[in-house]
Symmetry: C2
Subunit: 278 residues, 2 copies
């Protein structure tokens, strides 16, 4: 099994890939999400791990757009508690640090911490772990990374301060993606689905769709309208539903199809438990 991850070994995507597929999985390191669909569609990888939303930053709409555009399928989800740590070469302390390099999302999640250190310059890089590796490879002084414990271990850096994220309960939700013709779970494992649909113009059309979900005992666990510029009265939605009975889910989908102008089931999968931080 070969799985594409965003970032290099030690990234949060690496941690998720191990949790989901076990430690024997082969990983293909990607320095942007954009290359993942190509890798999947050319069969260079069997799947991918892709961050989709975070408790602080919200949904990554551009990743929803990639999934939609390349017609990828969600095979599973993982909620990972994100622990950000400030790390540098052995012997460096906070007062030595002039610049912190990290992924934009990691910087965003630690912004409050750095307010107390206005002299530290925050620089965007494409991956949290990649910076940790660079600091070690090039023996960079005065530079720190924001990355996982795993990255500190792999690249042998010293953690100057741990848990620097703004919200201590900081979760990121990741999708496990496959090509649309990839294998899916057996139906008795499936209790969650991600949908994309476009409602008709009339008032109350979303309410009708949600009423159908409710009548089939499906719980809505996420809904998000997408900003559509060119046609402000047509709405597009991403929704997640949770259910106990797969047959009921299938019946609901048939009814919803009659109520919307477009419906795509992006994935049927097993809901992940959100583990609290240990």
């Amino acid at each position: 099994m070969n799985i594409a991850i965003q970032g290099i070994l030690g990234s949060f995507h690496h941690i998720v890939a191990h949790q989901y597929f076990g430690e024997d999985v082969n990983l293909t390191e990607c320095l942007s999400f954009d290359v993942m669909p190509q890798l999947m569609n050319s069969n260079k990888v069997d799947g991918a791990v892709m961050a989709i939303e975070n408790t602080l930053a919200g949904s990554i709409l551009s990743n929803y757009a990639l999934i939609d555009e390349f017609d990828l399928r969600i095979h599973g989800e993982v909620h990972l508690p994100i622990h950000h740590n400030l790390m540098a070469l052995e012997g460096q302390s906070l007062s030595d640090i002039k610049e912190v390099w990290s992924h934009p999302m990691a910087i965003l999640q630690c912004r409050k911490y750095f307010r107390d250190y206005p002299n530290i310059k925050l620089v965007e890089e494409s991956d949290t772990a990649e910076v940790a590796k660079q600091i070690q490879d090039k023996k960079l002084m005065g530079i720190a990374a924001i990355a996982s414990n795993m990255a500190a271990e792999i690249y042998n850096l010293n953690i100057i301060e741990s848990e620097i994220q703004t919200r201590k309960q900081n979760y990121t939700r990741f999708f496990i993606l496959k090509k649309s013709n990839g294998n899916i779970h057996t139906t008795n494992e499936v209790n969650k689905a991600s949908l994309r649909f476009v409602t008709h113009h009339h008032t109350g059309s979303l309410s009708e769709v949600l009423r159908i979900f409710a009548s089939f005992n499906m719980n809505l666990s996420k809904i998000q309208s997408l900003p559509i510029i060119d046609n402000p009265w047509n709405y597009s939605f991403f929704a997640d539903v949770v259910f106990d009975d797969y047959q009921q889910f299938q019946k609901a989908i048939i009814e919803v199809k009659n109520k919307v102008s477009d419906l795509k089931v992006i994935g049927e999968y097993k809901q992940s438990k959100r583990k609290h931080d240990s």
Copy 2:
């Protein structure tokens, strides 16, 4: 009238403040959104302009959280087409540029452009216009800003490349905020409202709320569920509704209050037209 804006003169918030309040308004420059509620609550300003969502990046959940925590009220909205331009000192060309400094959101919106220039380092700063000012004040060579046309004019920089945002139709929606006891519009101007509510535990509770909106001829123009970590079966929503008849809106609110465990009307205001780029 004194209005707080994120960033300094030449920022997109400055452009919005002029559009909404006219060019005679006094502006208080803020280098973060967090200081705005304090300025408002201590009556140092009469209101604030705050970016709330973008067509590419989605909602700024942390600003929704600020509005909620400090009990601010939305007085209006503006949809601004965002044109990002790469600018530097006169005489500098693209090949001279080693680093680009800008606001994280601006960098995010121009990420695709910079993929063709992997040697240019992207550095986060707190404001787009502030960088333009610094480049001029300190005569910085090799550094470019991503900022508005207005910033290029005010700080006398040369635009190396215009319209570098990934999506040409790139809009940001801004809220005009006032304190909760601030004056509001007359009701005959009001045709839109922003709400926050928490639904009860049972299946279909959101559908019931939306059905009420529909039965009073209110159109949903945005809905977003918020990730709640500690209680995954309680949902919190931010929703915007559009209506023609203010009396109907008031009746709907009374009915919705009986269906949810918490409801707050964050603002009643006039819907802004999204102008297409000229």
